[in-house]
Symmetry: C2
Subunit: 539 residues, 2 copies
C-alpha cells in the first residue's frame, strides 16, 4: 500500500532547508530507497516516493513557513540536476500505475505554480547540472530557470527520441504555452536527445540565464537576494501534524472523513463530516487551532482519501459522496473564512480546499453525490456535489443544500471557472440567481434551480440509488474515464486543463502502444543492448 | 486504395436535391455498397465511403449552389435517421484506419459548422427517426435539430454503455461546449443506451424541437421557410470538375501538385507548383475560370494529396513540403483574392484554402518545409512553411519568401489564431513586424525575423536535409503524433481544438484498450451472444 503521508524529518531524497526568507529544496535521491523493488534511482531519477516528499515540502512551505519568499530547487549530486522519472520503474509498472504516477507528479508541479500565482512565492530552478526529461519538466514548473555553463550540462526532453513516449509532466505544453517557445524550436528541442546547453538554451527561451561553474552559486544567490528584497512577508507558520487514520480491511476512517469500501460492488462511500462544536471566529483563534481547524483538517483528510482511492483501490470505480452534519456550522465556517480571506493563513486554507477539490475533479473515478436529510452539502461542501458527475437528492422536508460566498469564486476548477459557472454555461444568469439564495434550499427548489440531477421520493430512493450504482459500475472503466474527462471541463481551457486533458490522454495512448511498451518497444529496450523496432504506420 | 473523389451522380448513399434556396441531403445507405468487404451498412450506419459522399455534397453546396440558404439533413429510411458509424466496420478495421476514419468524419462535421459560421448557410437536422451515436453527432454538428415524436424515436450516444468506447465525432464536446448541456445531464445521457425522446430531449437541450409524426414534414418545412425568408442570397455557382490525377507506383501527380513517394525511407516530397501564365484580375474572370483558377485547383489537389497520404500511405511518416514557381505570381493571386474577398466565390475560395491548411495541421505526419531558390513560399503558400514542424532555407542570394495580406487573418488555424500569431506567442509585436515586410525576404532576414528554423549554406545543405530526414523517420511514429499534436496548437483552445486534441487522444487510447477491442472487449462482443468482460481497474 502506498502511503502519501510524510514529513521533513523522514525525507530520504530531499534536503529541506529554511534560512530566513529563502527555502532550499535539494534533491539527493537515494538510489536504493525505492518505493518498490526492481529498480535503482540513479542520477537523481525519481519514483512516486520521491515526488510524495516534494509535494509534502511544497505543502509545508505554504503552512509552516509563510515567511519564505524564494524557493530554490537544486540538486546535491555533482553535474546532474535530475534525470526525470525512472525508466525502469516505468517499465515495470502497470499501465494504471503509470498514469496515476504521472497525474500525481503533474499535480505537484501545478501546486508549485499555484503557490507562485496565488501566494507570491517565487520558485527558482538552480540547475547545477543536466536536467533531462522530468528533470527539465520540474524546472519549467518553476518561475525562473538558471543552468550551469560547464561545457556539458544541458536541458533536454529526450522522451520522444530515446523512449518513444511523451514527456509526462506537462513538458510539451509548458514549452509552447507557458514559456511560449517557438513551435519549430520546440519541435527540434523535443526530438534532440542530448538537449541544449547554456547559450542556445537561453536564446531559445528554454532557460532564463546561465552562469559558469565558478560563478553559479553567486549568480543564484544574487538573484535570490533580488527576489527576497522585492517582497515583504510575515506571519508565523502553523504545524501540519500527521493525520490519524484508522483502517480496517474495508474502511479507512479519519477525524472528519469516513471511507467505506464495497469492493465486491466496486464502489466506495466517502462521507465528509461537517464541523462540530464551537469554531474559531477570529484569525487568532484559527492560528491557535492550527491544523485541527475543520476546513484544513477535513480537506487534508479528503486529499489523502482521494489519493488512497486512486492508487490503492484501482478497482473501485465509483465513489458515492455523502456529508453529515449541520448546514449552519458549515456556513458559519465559510463566513469566517470569507471575512478573513486576506490573512495569509486563511488564504492558504482556502487555496488548499480549492486544490483538493481540483484533485477530485481530476480523479479517474465516477462520483455520485447522495443527499439525504442528515447531509450538509452547504458552501464549500456543496462543491462536492457540484464536482460530482451526477447527484441524487431525497425528497424530504429535512433535505436541503445551501450556498455560501465561497461558491462564488474562491474554489475555481482547473478551467478557471467556478463549478457553478461550469454548470450553467448555457444560462450564466443562473449563477447569480443561485448565489443569491441565502436560505437553505429544499429538494424541489434545488431541482428547479438546476443544482441536482435526480430527486427521487422515499418510495423510489433505495432502488434508484442501488440501480444507479449497479449500472455505473458495470460500464467499461476506460470509456468512463474518457467520458468524464470530456464532460467535466466544459468551457475555457487553461494550461492546467491542457496538460491534464490533452497531454495525459496522448500519454495514456502512447504508453500502451507496442512501439513503446511492446517487446520491441523503445521503453522496453531502453538501456538494453537490443534496439527498439517500430511499426512505422502513422496513426 | 481509397479514393476521395466523387460527385452527386455517383452517390450511392445520399440523395442530393436542390429546390430554390433549399438543399435536402437525404441519407439512404445501401447496406451492401461498402468500402471494403466484411460488414453490412444496416440502419443507415456509415463507413468512410458514406462520409466521403457527405463531405463532397457540403463542398459542392458551397461552390455550386451559392443560392442555397438552408440545408436539411434527413433520412429516407423509415423510423431511423442514422445509427452512426458501423460497428462491424470499426471492429474489423486497423487501429490506424479507425483513427483516420474518425478524423475525416470530424473534419466533415467541422466543415458543416464552417459553412454555417462563415457562409451563413443554416443546417437543419430533420430526425425522422432515431439518431444514435454518430447519427446524433451528425445532428449536433447542424445548427438546429428537430426530432419526430412517434413514441419511439430518440437521440442517443450509446458508445459508452454499449461499446465501451467514446462517441468518436465530437459528441461529448459538442454536448457540453456547443449545446452547453448541463454536465450531470450530459453524464446521464451519455450512459443511457436507449437515449431520450422528444419532450425530455428538448428539456435537456439535446434537440431544438419535436413534432408528432403527422406534423413532422410540415414542422420542418415551416422552419425552413423562416430560415430562407431571413436571408437573401445570390450568385451563380461554378462547377467542381473531377481532379485529373496521374499515378505511378511511387508518384501521384496533379496539375499543381507533385507527390513523390520515397517509401523505403518513409518520406514523401510534396511539391506545390505556383500559378503560371496570366491570372484573372476581376471577379468575372475568376467566375469564368471556375475550378481551374489556381487557388481553387491547387488547394483541391493539395487536399486530395493529404487525404491520400493519410489513408493510403500509412508508413510515410514525413512529408517534405516544397514549392516551385514565381513569388510575384503567388502574391498577385493573393492581391486579387484580398481585393475581392467580399464576393461569394472569392470568399469560398479563401475559406477552402483555410480548411485545406487546417487539414494539413491535423495530419498525423511530420512536415518539413524545404526552401530552395526556385521556391515560392509567398503569401498563401508561406502558410505551408508556417504549418510545418520545422523549416530549412538554403542560404543563397536567390532564396526568398514573402508575405501577403492573406497571412494576416484569412487563413486561421483551428485554435482561432493565424499561423504567424501562433508562431510568435511570446513576441506578439513580431506579427505586425513580419506583416509589414512588403519585399521578398532573403534567408538571413527570414532567420532574423524568426520565420525559419534552420539556414544551412550550400556546403551543408544536402547533408543537413538528408540527416534530418533520416533522424525524423527513425523516431517512434506514435510519440511523434502525440508530440506534434501538442506542439502545433499552442495558445487558445476552441471547440475544434478540443475535439481533435482532447477527444481524439482519448479515443485513440480507448480504441486500443482490451476492454474495447480485446477478445472480451465490448466492441468485439457487440451483437454477439457473448457479453463483454471488463478489467475493472480504473486508469
Amino acid at each position: 500500500m502506498i502511503n502519501f503521508q510524510t514529513s521533513p524529518e523522514r525525507y530520504q531524497h530531499w534536503k529541506f532547508e529554511i534560512s530566513g526568507a529563502v527555502a532550499t529544496l535539494s534533491m539527493d535521491v537515494q538510489e536504493d530507497h525505492t518505493l518498490v523493488d526492481g529498480y535503482k534511482l540513479k542520477l537523481n531519477s525519481y519514483d512516486l516516493g520521491v515526488d510524495i516528499e516534494l509535494a509534502d515540502a511544497i505543502q509545508r512551505l505554504r503552512f509552516e513557513h509563510p515567511e519564505v519568499a524564494a524557493v530554490v530547487i537544486t540538486s546535491l549530486k555533482p553535474r546532474i540536476f535530475c534525470a526525470g522519472a525512472n525508466i525502469y520503474m516505468l517499465g515495470s509498472s502497470s499501465h494504471a500505475f503509470k498514469v496515476n504516477f504521472c497525474k500525481f507528479t503533474n499535480e505537484t508541479r501545478c501546486a508549485i505554480e499555484d503557490d507562485s500565482k496565488h501566494s507570491g512565492r517565487r520558485y527558482i530552478a538552480a540547475l547545477n547540472g543536466t536536467a533531462s526529461g522530468g528533470g527539465y519538466e520540474l524546472a519549467i514548473a518553476c518561475d525562473e530557470i538558471y543552468l550551469v555553463d560547464d561545457g556539458n550540462s544541458a536541458v533536454s526532453l529526450p522522451e520522444v527520441p530515446l523512449l518513444g513516449v511523451l514527456p509526462g509532466t506537462g513538458g510539451l505544453t509548458r514549452l509552447v504555452d507557458k514559456r511560449k517557445v517557438r513551435r519549430d524550436r520546440a519541435d527540434v528541442f523535443s526530438t534532440l536527445a542530448e538537449g541544449l546547453k547554456g547559450k542556445r538554451a537561453h536564446e531559445w527561451g528554454l532557460i532564463d540565464g546561465y552562469f559558469p561553474t565558478s560563478k553559479f552559486g553567486e549568480g543564484i544567490a544574487s538573484r535570490v537576494e533580488q527576489v527576497v528584497a522585492a517582497q515583504s512577508r510575515s506571519g508565523s507558520g502553523i504545524k501540519l501534524n500527521p493525520l490519524e487514520i484508522h483502517s480496517t480491511d474495508d474502511s479507512r476512517n479519519y477525524r472528519y472523513i469516513r471511507l467505506q469500501l464495497n469492493r465486491e460492488q466496486r464502489y466506495a462511500d466517502l462521507t465528509v463530516v461537517g464541523p462540530d462544536g464551537p469554531q474559531p471566529t477570529t484569525v487568532d483563534e484559527i492560528q491557535e487551532l492550527g491544523d485541527a481547524y475543520w476546513p484544513l483538517q477535513a480537506y487534508r483528510e479528503l486529499d489523502d482519501a482521494l489519493l488512497h482511492l486512486r492508487v490503492n483501490e484501482p478497482e473501485v470505480g465509483l465513489v458515492c459522496l455523502r456529508t453529515e452534519g449541520s448546514i449552519d456550522s458549515v456556513l458559519e465556517v465559510d463566513r469566517v473564512l470569507t471575512a478573513n480571506r486576506d490573512h495569509w493563513l486563511v488564504r492558504e486554507i482556502i487555496l488548499n480546499m480549492a486544490r483538493v477539490l481540483r484533485r477530485l475533479d481530476l480523479t479517474a473515478k465516477s462520483f455520485f453525490a447522495i443527499v439525504e436529510p442528515a447531509a450538509c452539502f452547504a458552501g464549500n461542501l456543496l462543491e462536492l456535489l457540484l464536482a460530482s458527475d451526477r447527484s441524487y437528492m431525497l425528497i424530504d422536508p429535512k433535505s436541503s443544500v445551501a450556498i455560501s460566498d465561497l461558491n462564488g469564486g474562491a474554489l475555481v476548477m482547473s478551467n478557471g471557472l467556478t463549478r457553478l459557472q461550469s454548470r450553467f454555461l448555457s444560462e450564466p444568469e443562473r449563477v447569480d440567481q443561485v448565489l443569491n439564495e441565502t436560505n437553505p434550499i429544499n429538494t424541489e427548489e434545488a431541482e428547479e434551480l438546476g443544482l441536482i440531477t435526480f430527486a427521487p421520493d422515499d418510495l423510489d430512493w433505495e432502488d434508484e440509488i442501488r440501480v444507479a450504482i449497479e449500472e455505473r459500475t458495470s460500464l467499461s472503466p476506460d470509456a468512463l474515464t474518457g467520458m468524464e474527462a470530456s464532460l467535466r471541463f466544459a468551457g475555457p481551457e487553461t494550461l492546467d486543463t491542457k496538460i491534464y486533458g490533452r497531454l495525459t490522454a496522448w500519454q495514456n495512448w502512447i504508453f500502451q502502444r507496442p512501439n513503446a511498451v511492446g517487446p520491441q518497444g523503445a521503453l522496453t529496450n531502453y538501456g538494453k543492448p537490443t534496439k527498439a523496432q517500430f511499426d512505422f504506420k502513422r496513426t
